[in-house]
């Protein structure tokens, strides 16, 4: 139960953070991004509480239903609790910044703090809050969020329509996704170098299968993205045909589904201990 709640809340957390990054990056969407984000922010807040409960249960060794009693100790006396509190403050700043007040300018900074904090709270915590590993992982989370989130945000804006978007918007999405992908790979290679350095290969049955499934999904996402950028986008930009616009949008749906599954597998992996 605890494992399921932890994995599900991490999954939703990563999805929502990706969506917020996507909304922030797509300029066309950003005009109204902050206020559009509000319902998702509220959901993020509820999820962040579930995430806390799952972690408290895991840390205290109590069943989920009884873990409330340990929340105080975890929040006030542990490294994770401090990180969670900073994340909660960043979330509050995001919520306030989603209004029309002068605090709107805080939005990108608050988002950055939230992501950095989330990165440093995960498995890189042993390397320290201020560490190259935490920084690399932050870039990784931001880039992953930008790649998936820009696709989510674009679909949310244009779903149902058969191409009511400009060339400029399509090109912008493709650029954001392409750059994000480069950063995902660069930060991933750095991560890999740090992690593989001196680590035992933890290839267990369930764990290994999850990793292989994840690898397969990444290849699918890469392929869909590549077809869209290398084949459909040039057609769209050159001819501007409605058919190309529909195809561009149609390819984003399976890509988004793949990202949703990918975040799910990532959450399962983070909740699964490799054997050995």
């Amino acid at each position: 139960m605890t494992l399921a709640v932890s994995a599900a809340s991490t999954w939703l957390l990563d999805l929502l953070v990706a969506l917020l990054i996507g909304f922030t990056l797509l300029r066309s969407a950003a005009v109204t991004a902050q206020s559009r984000c509000r319902p998702w922010l509220v959901l993020l807040g509820v999820d962040y509480l579930c995430y806390l409960l799952g972690r408290v249960a895991a840390m205290s060794g109590q069943p989920l239903a009884e873990s409330w009693s340990a929340v105080g100790v975890v929040v006030t006396q542990t490294h994770f609790g401090l990180m969670w509190s900073i994340g909660a403050a960043a979330w509050l700043a995001l919520l306030v910044g989603s209004g029309h007040g002068p605090l709107r300018r805080l939005w990108p900074l608050a988002l950055l703090v939230f992501v950095y904090n989330h990165a440093a709270t995960g498995h890189v915590a042993d390397a320290g809050f201020v560490s190259v590993a935490a920084l690399v992982h932050t870039v990784h989370l931001l880039a992953t969020g930008a790649w998936a989130g820009s696709v989510f945000a674009f679909l949310m804006q244009h779903r149902g329509g058969s191409g009511q978007y400009s060339h400029e918007e399509a090109r912008q999405l493709s650029d954001v996704a392409a750059w994000a992908m480069v950063l995902v790979l660069a930060s991933g290679v750095l991560n890999a170098w740090r992690m593989l350095h001196g680590a035992q290969a933890p290839w267990g049955v369930a764990y290994g299968e999850l990793l292989i499934a994840k690898a397969a999904l990444v290849v699918v996402a890469l392929t869909l993205g590549a077809v869209n950028r290398l084949v459909v986008l040039p057609d769209l930009l050159m001819t501007g045909k409605a058919g190309a616009r529909s195809r561009f949008l149609a390819l984003l749906y399976p890509e988004a589904v793949v990202f949703v599954l990918l975040f799910g597998l990532a959450a399962l992996l983070s909740a699964t201990s490799p054997p050995g």
């Binding site: 895991a58 498995h123 991933g188 290679v189 992690m195 035992q200 983070s270």
Partner: protein, 119 residues
């Protein structure tokens, strides 16, 4: 095709990088007294772990052969968070069981137990 192949290789590396991330569990490295030994009555149980511990959630408890709690006021070393110790009262001869819970600073929880005998 070359850049695409590079991409696949990098992606595989990236995925592999996710695996050892979950390894930061605290495991006991040094036990004092050691497991399954006969010793003169020790003044404390001291365990050195592979990771720094969260003092608020980590603990050592000592039980006697009748499963009665003998000591549970353990503390993590203020200077070295990888070390946790449990001061003991004067122990009589017999077998004892040490139960430990270690919550690493990254939040992972491990636990275990072992026995030793007082001569």
């Amino acid at each position: 095709m070359q850049p695409f192949r590079k991409l696949i290789v990098s992606t595989a590396l990236l995925l592999a990088s996710a695996a050892p991330l979950a390894l930061a569990h605290a495991h006991p490295k040094q036990l004092s007294p050691q497991a399954d030994v006969s010793v003169a009555a020790p003044k404390e149980v001291r365990i050195g772990f592979s990771e720094g511990l969260e003092p608020a959630l980590s603990s050592i408890k000592l039980f006697d052969a009748k499963d009665k709690l003998v000591a549970d006021k353990s503390a993590v070393d203020g200077a070295n968070h990888k070390v946790m110790a449990l001061p003991l009262p004067a122990l009589t001869a017999g077998q004892y069981r040490v139960e430990w819970v270690a919550v690493a600073e990254d939040g992972h929880r491990t636990n275990g137990h072992y026995r030793f005998t007082v001569k």
